[in-house]
Amino acid sequence: MAKVLVVTSGKGGVGKTTSTAALGAALAQTGQNVVVVDFDVGLRNLDLVMGAERRVVFDLINVIQGDAKLSQALIRDKRIETLSILPASQTRDKDALTAEGVASVMAQLREKFDWVICDSPAGIERGAQLAMHHADHAIVVTNPEVSSVRDSDRIIGMLDSTTKKAQDGGKIEKHLLLTRYDPARAARGEMLRIEDVLEILSIPLLGIIPESEEVLRASNLGAPVTLSSPDSPPARAYAEAARRLEGEKLEVTVPVERKGLLARLFKGKS
């Protein structure tokens, strides 16, 4: 039975697409069948971050409208055999995303894959609601920044009220993924602490992704960061988050400030 995951956030630009690509690749690397689905109709980007932008022929809307079969729209990743992407449409009317159409596509994907990871558009509009509707598990991507935390709170409220799981009387599993965390600034009291964000939002932590140049480099190259530089701190953090998704009990690594030897010596003396 496939597990359907939605990667969501209230505020835009917090790293949903990056996280979808990185987690999707990390899960697929363990041999599981993974599909990443772009729900951001009108502003598609997942194909670009995954480096599949020139291979898109049919998209989610084509499948929903019956212009293409699901198998025609799925793009197999060139690096990992068990990873596929279902791209979003850029040009079509986003109202073409119907609730029935989405339900039918999700049912088909559930049969084909072990993991269905949906990259949601930001916000609380219809597109975001459709993306989260069929999910069993939600990853709320948040930056340690006031507007991002506030909007995440609203998204958590929505997950608990409008998803199919919630309407059927169940409870959707929710996890927080804290991205762009800068340990040096947090240590100086310039950035919300992890404990504060967790206390305010009160959902369990899936991982902390440190702020890193590698994330931009990866998207420049069109490769999930877990593939382009697997030893970098963000890639390691994503890989650990993926293992937690698979049920492994793994202590969350809190990124620490990486100081030069000199700085450390000086700190030791003062």
Partner: protein, 92 residues
């Protein structure tokens, strides 16, 4: 100077605790507001009408209270229709 500098300087720099406190207050407010919004509006409408009625005779149905909750700004809109020949009740 160095003592004062470090003492006050540090206080200026630690903006994160301020962020935490602001968020906690804001979210506590927003979370309670979401559940019984219509109740709040009904109460507001009744009380506003009561105050207005002390001075002007207005129809119960001619008062509209609306709350637009946006992402960053919420707007409370109160629409009261006053009959043309009405005068403030205190004057002759």
């Amino acid at each position: 100077m160095s003592l004062f500098g470090s003492f006050f300087g540090r206080n200026n720099k630690t903006s994160a605790p301020v962020a935490r406190d602001r968020l906690q207050i804001l979210l506590a407010h927003e979370r309670t507001g979401n559940g019984n919004e219509s109740d709040l509006l009904n109460k507001l409408q009744a009380e506003i009408l009561e105050v207005i009625k002390r001075h002007i005779a207005v129809d119960q149905d001619k008062v509209q209270v609306k709350l637009d909750r946006g992402n960053s700004v919420s707007m409370l809109e109160i629409d009261i229709e006053v009959p043309q020949q009405m005068r403030p009740s205190g004057q002759p």
